[in-house]
Amino acid sequence: MARPLPGMPGAGSGLMKPIPDRVTLVGIRHHGPGSARMVRAALDAVRPQLVLVEGPPDADALIEHVGELIPPVALLLHDATDPANAAFWPFARFSPEWQALTWGARHNVDVRFADLPAGVSLSRADDADEVDRVVVDPLGVLAEAAGFDDPERWWEDVVEHSSAEPTQLAAAVAEAMTALREEFADTVDRRTLRREAWMRQVLRKALTEYDGPIVVVCGAWHVPALRELPAAKADADLLKGLPKSKIAGSWVPWSHGRLAATSGYGAGVASPGWYAHLWEYPNDTIPRWMARTSHVLREEGLSASTASAVEAVRLADTLAALRGRPSPGLSEVSEAALAVLCGGDDVGLRIVHEKLVVGEELGAVGDGVPRSPLATNLERWQRKLRLPASAAEKSMRLDLRRDIDRGRSRLLRQLHVLDVRWGEPDETTTLGTFAEAWTVQWDPGLAVAVAAAARHGATVEGAAEHVLLERTKSAETVAAAAEVLREAVACELVSAVTAARAALDRCAAAATDALELLQALPALAGTVRYGSVRGTDPELLRAAMHGLLARGSAGLPLACHGIDDATAEVALSTLDTAHEAVLLAADEEHSAGWWEALHRLVRTDPSAHGLPVGRATRLLWEDDRLDTEAVAIRMQRAVSIASSGTSFVAGFLRGSAVRLAADPRLLGLVDDWLTGLPTEGFEDALPLLRRAISTFSAPERRTLAERVGQGAGAAVLVVDDGDPDRTERLVEFVRGLYERAGV
């Protein structure tokens, strides 16, 4: 036997023992259709008594369910106490591991996983100091050396097309890998060595339990490490003291889109749809692919005739010949499709990539597979509400007057509370009071969120209620409590509504800051105003909102006093949103209280911060509760105190471009004020004024400039009177102004 592998425990001790002949090592490329065929052929040839597959042994109990699965599926394993700490092992139909699993199920042969248990790999936090070295794709290295861009194509060309016996092929792969392992010895990290030690431990155990042939299906990279066994103690030493946590998990449906992302087996598959095609159609691969391509293009309304598909096949074949390949690969078919079927336009090619090369296939998991009570409950709801989990994005309009739509909305919102973001409500389109727009898309990764949420309860409703109750308990601010209340109402969870209401009262009582109270208004206003077709009593919310408003109004003037600029900005936006909420939902009596509060804010002496005062002045003026004369006076007065004048104007003007352009009174008011400023005051005012109008859009500013140009006020033009000295000074001055204003 060759030299022992560098880094292997017991290397050089002379205790290495080759594995018995009845063990066949099949080195594979994860998710490689070529490898999948090799595995199937090797299993058919060897007819083993036991199959060992690279994978987490914690999941051995789940192997018996393979027959009830439709790939792509994934093993979801998570920490039993902390379900959010989870990992996936995805399997597609073309995965060699999957072929090994199903072969075992079909032939009633035992299959076991052989790799580091998930319990160990998931609690690797203590290994943080160990930097993962660059992981090489061994087949990728060989393929690159041979001048191929896609390792799978190289595998196809070199391995698949060879007429050797599958077992001999496996031996050849092992030879190549041993050579590679010696060359890349530096890149093998401690984790890999531990995994291989575990694989050997599993193999040792299997050798004592079974006396028939054994097939080991593992990554080609690991084959050299399994060809000979060091003393069992050496491996045991390497694995000693590894932390191990209790693991729970199940099979979950997976999708091709998810396969393309990174997975438990390291790198993801860039083109799962193409690989599935290679697996499914070993003959007529390219013609079938082009036929499917033109079909996809035609569905999108692009012209792609059968005659063109024929030409595309010819071009792909010729390209492959030109590049010296036995058959076209993905790059050849894509380039041919681009030139012939898409007319050089890559929009079509992108559609093909999305629909075919990656694909939208979603797997399924049978009823007999164990899952958390929450997941079972969710599936029951999905069936009942006729809302299947689909990988494709779908927009829907829910009419809340219909029971089924109301149920769907409730389910989606409850899932939202559980952080299972299956659907996103579209808040931008208003569909009136009884309809909602949703975008739903089931990302298989949500299985983690479902697993993580399972600890909260056995049903979606119960779990959501539990989460909301927890949140009401921990709510510290009025706004947080109000948000919980709003969600509880939307989820139609009565006891959560009651609890949130109590939490709101508690927080409101403790709140000393009027702004905090007012910030909670928007969350409630929408529901109060439009009522809710849901089963909650709207009066409950109305009373809560009015309570907040009354107390916030009372404290408003004081809250805007003696504050710094940052707080003033908060006050300004709070004022805006609260004002909207008041207009939307408050009754007569409480609205009056609000207006009164604004009046008091404007009147307070010594005056409060300019920003909120300026805004309050405008709100009052807009509603004709303050006449123009009074505003002019206030503006003049505010300006007389140089420091607060500018912030007053900023508060007054911000976000009022349209108004300013359309209302000559308002423009005149501002114009009079500006032209009336003394030189120094004007210089001070300019930067803040600019900041106030910097939020205006370019067209708004243009309109405004045109209005000013038309002579809204008494503009004085500075005319060059021929005095060069003065012109020079003027130019300097204007430039200075520009620099200060940051133009």
Binding site: E311, R314, L315, L319, S331, E335, A339, G343, G344
Partner: protein, 363 residues
């Protein structure tokens, strides 16, 4: 043998030695009537060093895959359509492909708004027609018809400039590989080796949209503008040096720094933003292609050779730049002025160029 001096020898003459060397070294199978194997054609276009030490210069700097798709298309006797914005080397590539495949890049139909159907199909020698009546001897074949008869590559330049009905006269030729001559009651069949390379640009004004019936009969390859500044600098300096030799300019080959400056100006104006992405600039109306950058550099070299000290500098570039950027008197002048003031002036090492441009156009 002396080659008669011409201003611009066609590709097969200019690169006759390279073609001969490639043919000698080429051991791969050749499609019927092809002078080289497809692999050798790709090598001719992209450049390679042959085993015997002959250096084949790269003719096209860009994505290898595009050239491979183009050559494979011609192997499958499909017609090839090269599409791109002006100055992306469409005609250049088409000429070299024809030269390498058929050894003849002159079977060419130039598409204009006035191109008639006779230029694409066949015309008549009217003196003969009147004297002898319709006969094959009175027929004047178009370059396309000659390519069909000899099994060569025909070229159609600026296909989308032709009137649509003239474009469509290619449909029968491309799908049936035959051209009926109803006057003589015969049909000219194309012999193996015949294929067609058309170029079209999708940006310019005055373009006639191709009918989809015609578009279907082409394999389309889109030639992108050079992806990086370095690639473009390489193209410009290489081409300018070649052109300088051809024009027998006594000046030195262009300094790389000057070429880089021209390319950067062109790219920045084309993209509407400076390389560092900080400054937004107005886009002029012209296409500012790589081809125009080449001509700015060559005309600068000519200026330097005849009126300057022989080396290309800011003064020589300025005149060419102005002419290349300002195509529309009003709007482009504004764009150029802004660019000068906002970008060129700010770059300290570009002061000489700023001064030279200002002297030319002291707006």
């Amino acid at each position: 043998m002396t080659t008669p001096t011409v201003l611009r020898p066609s590709a097969e003459t200019q690169y006759a030695e390279e073609l001969a060397a490639l043919a000698a070294a080429d051991d791969k199978p050749r499609p019927p009537k092809w002078k080289l194997s497809p692999q050798a054609v790709v090598q001719y276009v992209l450049g390679v060093t042959l085993p015997d030490g002959t250096v084949i210069t790269p003719k096209y700097v860009g994505d290898r895959r595009l050239v491979e798709v183009a050559v494979s298309t011609l192997v499958t006797d499909r017609a090839l359509l090269l599409v791109g914005v002006p100055g992306t080397a469409k005609s250049w590539l088409s000429e070299h492909l024809a030269a390498a495949i058929s050894g003849d890049s002159t079977l060419i139909v130039q598409g204009t708004a006035g191109t008639s159907e006779e230029a694409v199909r066949y015309g008549w020698n009217y003196a003969r027609l009147i004297a002898e009546g319709p006969s094959e001897a009175a027929l004047v074949p178009s370059p396309v018809l000659r390519a069909m008869q000899t099994g060569a590559v025909a070229r159609v330049e600026e296909l989308s400039r032709m009137p649509a009905e003239v474009q469509d006269s290619l449909i029968t030729i491309l799908s049936e590989k035959a051209l009926p001559v109803p006057e003589l009651n015969l049909q000219v069949q194309a012999v193996p080796g015949f294929t067609l390379i058309a170029t079209a640009n999708d940006r310019d004004r005055g373009v006639n949209q191709m009918s989809s019936a015609l578009a279907r009969r082409f394999n389309t390859v889109v030639l992108p503008p050079p992806a990086t500044e370095d690639a473009e600098v390489e193209i410009v300096s290489q081409r300018a040096a070649q052109l300088g030799r051809a024009l027998e300019l006594p000046s030195e080959p262009p300094a790389l720094d000057e070429v880089r400056r021209v390319v950067r100006i062109f790219r920045e104006l084309r993209n509407g933003t400076t390389v560092d992405g900080r400054t937004q600039v107005k886009k002029p109306s012209g296409s500012l292609s790589t081809a125009e950058a080449i001509s700015v550099v060559t005309s600068g070299m000519a200026l330097a050779a005849h009126f300057g000290d022989g080396s290309l500098g800011a003064d020589e570039l300025a005149a060419g730049l102005l002419g290349a950027v300002i195509k529309d008197r009003v709007s482009d002048t504004v764009a150029w002025q802004e660019y000068l003031e906002a970008v060129v002036k700010e770059r300290r090492e570009w002061r000489d160029l700023y001064r030279a441009c200002r002297e030319l156009d002291p707006a």
